[in-house]
């Protein structure tokens, strides 16, 4: 397929300040052993894309650690492969990019050197499994300038997202931002297909006109004049727009249909850590939970997700919780609706509880 992938790893960092304080949205842990960028990357790779540029801004150490050379996604290539695009310190001293347009301006060199026909732009706020080659086919069939992937979802934080109206042919008739939407609506999934040369022309044009926002100054302002099409994605798509939706969508993985759709084909790739298989002790009781490798479970775990290398002590009860990598939970602890970031230590006999809409959050490395 003649398309190059571009992933914005930072663009929704403000969605979950608790978790992205120390990392990019792309390196946010999800689903026991994944990071959010794994979904965008795996979908691109599985759709036949062999070159992916990753735009970073700040706090991207964890992202680089996760991605390495890209070999776990088959992207350690002589030709193309994984290309990290850190902020390009502009010589006019403008510093870090402030919006998507400036970020794109910073990678025009990368885009110019490619020779693929199309660019697929993805953010890291979605959990989905999608064949993007079908979006390219749709784009070609419609002879579109821009194709926006859209899906129906209820997004609490809808003001940060874009609602889409399209006619029967799929042509976008209206785009709205900053709208408070109650219930489900058709949202732009932050996945776009666009001609590479056309994108470069749009960026040049935006620079000379002093445009600030890709969404407002290009998509909204030119909805009528550009051929913008909406590709309706009917599969599972979860938008991670807040700590609460992060919690909800993680918990949805406990439902078999969701798990089967995302992971049934066993083609969502992630960094390999060579952890040992998980061990369950004589007194363990684990119900309706996802457990990653390297865990040692001696207590009770219900309706929860344990990331790699988590230890659950004897007599401990973990319910409705998300426990991230290498967290150690002592004996006779009780957790309910808790999210622990990586490397948290919870000492014996602690009792912690949040609720579904407001899970109790423990920051990375906390000892309690």
């Amino acid at each position: 397929m003649s398309a190059v992938g571009v992933i914005f790893s930072n663009i929704h960092d403000e969605n979950i300040p608790e978790l992205s304080h120390l990392r990019t949205m792309g390196s946010l842990p999800f689903g026991g052993r994944y990071r959010l960028i794994d979904f965008a990357l795996s979908n691109l790779v599985n759709s036949g894309v062999t070159t992916v540029g990753i735009i970073t801004k700040n706090n991207y150490q964890s992202l680089m650690d996760h991605l390495g050379s890209g070999k776990d996604w088959d992207l350690a290539r002589k030709t193309g492969g994984l290309i990290l695009l850190p902020p390009f310190g502009a010589r006019d001293g403008e510093g870090l990019y402030k919006n998507r347009l400036e970020a794109l301006k910073g990678i025009t060199g990368f885009l110019n050197r490619r020779n693929e026909e199309y660019v697929i732009l993805c953010d890291c706020d979605g959990v989905y499994r999608m064949d993007l080659s079908e979006v390219i086919d749709f784009h070609e069939e419609k002879q579109a300038d821009i194709t926006l992937v859209c899906h129906n979802e209820e997004i609490a934080n809808s003001r940060n997202y874009t609602t889409v109206k399209s006619d029967e042919s799929g042509r976008v008739t209206d785009l709205k931002i900053n709208e408070t939407v109650r219930g489900s609506d058709k949202f732009y999934s932050n996945i776009m297909v666009i001609g590479r040369k056309f994108l470069l022309a749009l960026i040049d044009d935006a620079v000379v006109h002093g445009y600030k926002s890709f969404r407002e100054d290009i998509l909204l302002r030119r909805t009528k004049t550009l051929k913008i099409y909406a590709y309706d994605f009917a599969g599972y798509h979860a938008t991670i727009d807040s700590l609460s939706s992060y919690f909800t969508h993680n918990m949805e993985l406990l439902e078999k249909p969701v798990r089967d759709e995302l992971f049934g084909a066993r083609d969502i790739y992630t960094k390999v850590r060579d952890s040992a298989p998980s061990k369950y002790g004589d007194d363990s009781a684990v119900k309706n939970s996802l457990i990653s490798d390297g865990c040692i479970v001696e207590g009770t775990v219900e309706n929860s997700i344990l990331f790699r290398g988590v230890k659950v002590g004897k007599g401990t009860v973990v319910r409705n919780s998300i426990v991230m990598q290498d967290t150690v939970i002592g004996d006779n602890v009780s957790l309910n609706c808790v999210i622990t970031d990586k490397n948290v230590v919870i000492r014996d006999r602690r009792v912690l509880s949040g609720c579904e809409v407001q899970p109790y959050f423990l920051a990375k490395g906390t000892m309690i």
Partner: protein, 401 residues
């Protein structure tokens, strides 16, 4: 300057492993799965890289496809190198006299040119059928310190088992004065582990001589080592202390798997200071359902457990349906145990389907042996496999085997 490696490892992985019966019908013994996510060959390969040895020749002959695929370019073990790395060495056609590998010594002899490419000072010979963690660099240091021509790793074994091994009789300084292959009346309990370090020039010399001896059976233990000893070469035993288990039989493979389940296992695969590297399965975390009941077990990624699992080791992507009971068993990846089925004291190979209400094996306390189901077979609903039986063909609904 010619580039060289101090030490090259040669891993003998061509054996059939006939005592594993159905488990090695289609794969070589070193490719047999072990410990929920590993294959036997992961242990010597991890030992090599953890000991700083980055050049490994893997000699294959019997059913090498799975092993070749698994090892690939060696990247999972950090053995993808510009100079060195892991290489599969299969028998090849020569200008005159092409031959299969006959015996361990001949296998190495046929690949002397591979070893010589790296111009090593020492050659480490390994076998691919043991589970252990060993720092070969310490053994190499001992080899250098004693100025030995050949060093043999050795472990103390119980007296009653000693006659199954090659026994080393040593002087107080560790030098070997006698080598007895499977003695009826062993004089010592120091058994050879089949791990040798040779000073390269000596290895070349004695392999050449052995090759030219028409009487020789071309085996290290039977021919090469005794010949060296008779010629008065400096041969030393290197005592290894730690877990070392042969997994060449059904029962020892089962036991070694069960050893992993101890609360403080004598052999800990989770030890961060000696990581066991492997090719990782591509799978989501394992899911344990509402009615799952898992006790004292090891479970790998991608499993879905809805039934009961006790004292068992389950590899990746195994499905245990609701109402199924698995006890004291080893189940390899991709196998499905359907609802109501019972699996007791068994080893089940990869991609097997155990039908509804089928009964495999018997309770360990009364069973006369371990039941074994070979790769990719289907056991029909209500069928049964008796304890101790080894099955490598489909079993129809309701049948007994």
């Amino acid at each position: 300057m010619q580039r060289k490696k101090e030490c090259v490892a040669m891993l003998l992985a061509g054996g059939q492993g006939s005592r594993l019966y159905a488990l090695t019908n289609n794969i070589a013994k070193p490719a047999v799965p072990f410990g929920a996510k590993y294959r036997i060959i992961d242990f010597p390969l991890s030992n090599c890289i953890n000991s700083g040895i980055d050049t490994v020749g893997v000699l294959t002959q019997y059913q090498p496809l799975m092993l070749n695929e698994y090892i690939g370019n060696g990247q999972p073990w950090d053995l993808d190198r510009n100079f060195g790395g892991v290489h599969i060495l299969s028998p090849y056609q020569k200008k005159s006299k092409s031959a299969w590998y006959e015996g361990t010594a001949n296998a190495i002899y046929q690949n002397l040119n591979f070893i010589k490419m790296y111009n090593p000072e020492y050659v480490l010979i390994l076998s691919g059928d043991h589970i252990y963690k060993m720092d070969y660099s310490k053994m190499l240091k001992a080899h250098i310190d004693t100025n030995a021509d050949c060093t043999i790793a050795a472990i103390e074994v119980p007296l009653k088992e000693a006659s199954r091994f090659g026994i080393l009789n040593t002087n107080p300084d560790g030098s070997i004065y006698e080598f007895e292959e499977k003695p009826k009346q062993p004089k010592s309990t120091l058994a050879s582990m089949g791990v040798y370090i040779f000073t390269a020039e000596k290895l070349y010399k004695y392999l050449e001589e052995d090759e030219n001896d028409p009487e020789s059976s071309k085996d290290f233990g039977k021919n090469v080592l005794p010949a060296m000893l008779n010629a008065g070469e400096r041969m030393f035993a290197y005592k290894f202390e730690g877990y070392w288990k042969d997994v060449g039989t059904i029962s020892s493979l089962w036991e070694a798997n069960m050893d992993l389940l101890d609360e403080q296992p004598a052999f800990d695969v989770a030890d961060a200071s000696w990581k066991i590297h492997s090719r990782n399965p591509l799978a989501p975390p394992e899911y344990l359902g509402e009615k799952a009941d898992v006790k004292n077990s090891m479970i790998a990624l991608g499993c879905e457990i809805y039934g009961s699992v006790e004292n068992s080791v389950l590899s990746s992507n195994v499905v245990i349906e609701e109402g199924a009971v698995v006890k004291d068993s080893v189940i390899m990846s991709g196998t499905r145990v359907r609802s109501g089925a019972t699996v007791n004291y068994s080893i089940i190979d990869e991609d097997v389907v155990v039908g509804e209400k089928a009964v495999i094996g018997e309770d360990k306390t009364i069973a006369k042996g371990i039941a074994v189901l070979g790769r990719n077979i289907c056991v029909g609903a209500g069928a049964s496999v008796a304890a101790g039986n080894i099955v490598d063909k489909d079993i129809k609904e309701g049948e007994e085997a």
